[in-house]
Amino acid sequence: MMMFKSAANGNRIASLGALAPAGVVATVVYVLFIGLPIMALLVRAGQQEGFLAGLTGPLVLQALRLTVITSVISLAVVVVIGTPFALLLARRGPTSRLLRVIDTFVELPIVLPPVVAGVAMLMAFGRNGLLGPALASVGISLPFTTVAVVFAQIFVAAPFYIRAARIGFAGVDPAYEEVSQTLGVSPWQTFWRLTLPMSRPSLLTGATLAWARAVSEFGATIMFAGNLTGRTQTMPLAIMTTMESSLGAALALAALMLAMSALALALLSVLVRRRAESSP
């Protein structure tokens, strides 16, 4: 939580000295660089014929529905598996070399091109993949299914949550947990009542980033899950497809995704701020 405190500390500006103008210029350039394309997208979307029809068209609604369902499932899986994993990394990682190597390894998907993840998943879970024949023998075929979409999302999104959760848990002093347990509170209850609330901002940040990454997943999905409306065509895939047939629908989807991202960001800042204010 220290990082949120120092961010609020505003009296350091004087020490910037001669660097301050450079900072201002850089800020303006950067804000324009990010802001202009987003503005242009919204302006163009507003002008585009067929924007409203696109927004309520079956293709957009099916893509939206699929994206929301798969990303929520992915996030749930990531949180359920990632939380105990991150706790182990935070508590035992410092003394375990193996865990530190694993820690570095699980962050690989952050830097790995998603399309590589897609090829890798095809090689592992595809019909002719490493596990393909074994899966087929029990009647499971993963590629080109909605489950494959969820797999791809989990693969690319999980590290964002695990990393943030690990940092959050590491920021909770184990001494507090020891005291809690000395007072007779069970480890399970200590986690729920002490560790979890104290690391909540980190967990929320991680969960939001992971969800946003799952929603925007493209490369691994198109490679491993294919592109079929209603089954595997999430919003990013639908944007690519409609961009080549109906710009109105593509802009509608893009504006919708932009709104979702902005909402996630706003929600996150509200949640984190409320938490930071209520903590002593």
Binding site: P174, L228, T241, S279
Partner: protein, 303 residues
Amino acid sequence: MAHVPTRGSLLRRRRFAPARCYNVAVMGLKILGIAAVVLGLALVACAPASQRAGDAETTLTVFAAASLAESFRALAAAYEIAHPDTRVALNFAGSQTLRTQLEHGAAADVFASANWEHMATIKEAGLLGNAPEYFAANRLAVITPVDSDAVQTLTDLARPGVSVAIASAEVPAGAYARDSLDQMSMDEAYPGDFAAAVLSNVVTNEASVRGVAQKVALGEVDAGIVYETDAAAHQYAGDIRVLEIPLEYNPAARYPIAAVSTSAQLEAALAFIQFIQDDSGQAILREFGFVPPANVACPCHAG
């Protein structure tokens, strides 16, 4: 959190004590990274001069349909030999992708589409530098993985449980495939709902015909509908089997080519197009399985 107990800070310091194993791993990664960069630079530096941009006087940028990949690489190589001062840069994708890129200002000199519709859109946008002409034709084929016997005849495409890959409807190959299935549905030899049954077996709508071929070659689907030239492409040999589609259900795919009006070297672009239409160019296309465009009235001359 404001007052951190001394014991806690001691604990924290101990927790972050360096560990040799970890450091060795990180060091290893760094060395690997540096090695990769050095190797990459060495490869760039050692590349033959002719492969680097800037040496030739003219660089022609050619946007060509994905199914033209091998044949246009061969055409470009032959053209560069005949015109040593010209370099041909090729961009392959689904024709609909190339069309979209051109509409949004991509710099190209020549556009070769796998159907008339995408060429017409570019023409209506005022982006063509000359009247487009057909230079090649193609037919469809069904391909199956060599180790799968799920699809032995065209009728099998409609069997429940069979997985089929086709190109999406915007892709020329996807549009032709849908036409072909519709024609089968209208024939007595096939059930009336044949096309609908096959389409319900489709598990992925690929962005180019080569995406379809790749999914079949990997054995991830039971069948795919591609061009005959894709089915004959050497990189899939050994991985796929080919099922012919009878001519009566097999729409002729015709490829128009034209110069792009925004080209800064229109003459060179027209020379390249002429080369493709001449005997030597046509012979190369023939090698890759394309047939001469039938002598049909070309809609491009009408407008």
